[in-house]
């Protein structure tokens, strides 16, 4: 096995392992706000590691650039989903988005 293959194996293995860890975190988290942290973590490091693995394998060709595009889309657009989900969950729990009196006093 060459160093090139080892690097790809390590990158793919790390990407898949961190993604699965985020899934486990989703289950053990207490509420929706904690779960959002794990959901957003799953869109940062794992896609980047897998995109780098594809780039190492393919170079700057169509598959490599597409993999990089996927990682960029997941990284840039998922914070919008996190914000919208947290906002919806807060409205559902408190009836409004603004801070409560108890939160203001803290």
């Amino acid at each position: 096995m060459s160093a090139h293959d080892l690097v790809i194996d390590a990158l793919v293995g790390a990407g898949v392992a961190t993604e699965l860890l985020c899934c486990v975190g989703l289950v053990v988290a207490r509420d929706v706000f904690d779960r959002i942290h794990f959901a957003m973590a799953s869109t940062t490091l794992p896609p980047s590691l897998i995109a780098v693995a594809v780039l190492v394998e393919e170079g700057w060709t169509q598959p490599g650039i597409n993999a990089l595009l996927v990682a960029a889309v997941l990284f840039l657009f998922n914070p919008m989903i996190a914000h919208a989900t947290a906002r919806a969950a807060r409205v559902r729990r408190f009836g409004h988005v603004e801070a409560t009196d108890a939160e203001r006093r803290r």
Partner: protein, 83 residues
């Protein structure tokens, strides 16, 4: 089987916890599970496209990455009060 296809197969196991959340937790939690499922499916498709060595397959995860974002955003923004 190569490392890409093993990785894609392992990622499919991640659907189980997301499905468990969708079935057992609140609807807001289920939405978070849906978001993670979209990420998992996108990455599994990237790995499968590379594993089958078909460059044209790589267009599918690119489209799914956009569509998963739009789908989750629509649910969170317009159906948020019913979560």
């Amino acid at each position: 089987m190569n490392v890409w296809l093993w990785g894609a197969t392992a990622l499919l196991a991640g659907f189980a916890p997301c499905g468990w959340i969708a079935l057992r937790a609140t609807r807001a939690d289920a939405l978070v599970g849906l978001e993670v499922t979209g990420t998992l499916a996108t990455l599994a498709l990237v790995l499968m496209a590379e594993g089958f060595n078909r460059a044209s397959y790589m267009g599918v995860p690119v489209v799914l990455a956009f569509m998963a974002v739009v789908g989750a955003l629509v649910i969170a923004r317009f159906l948020g009060r019913h979560l």
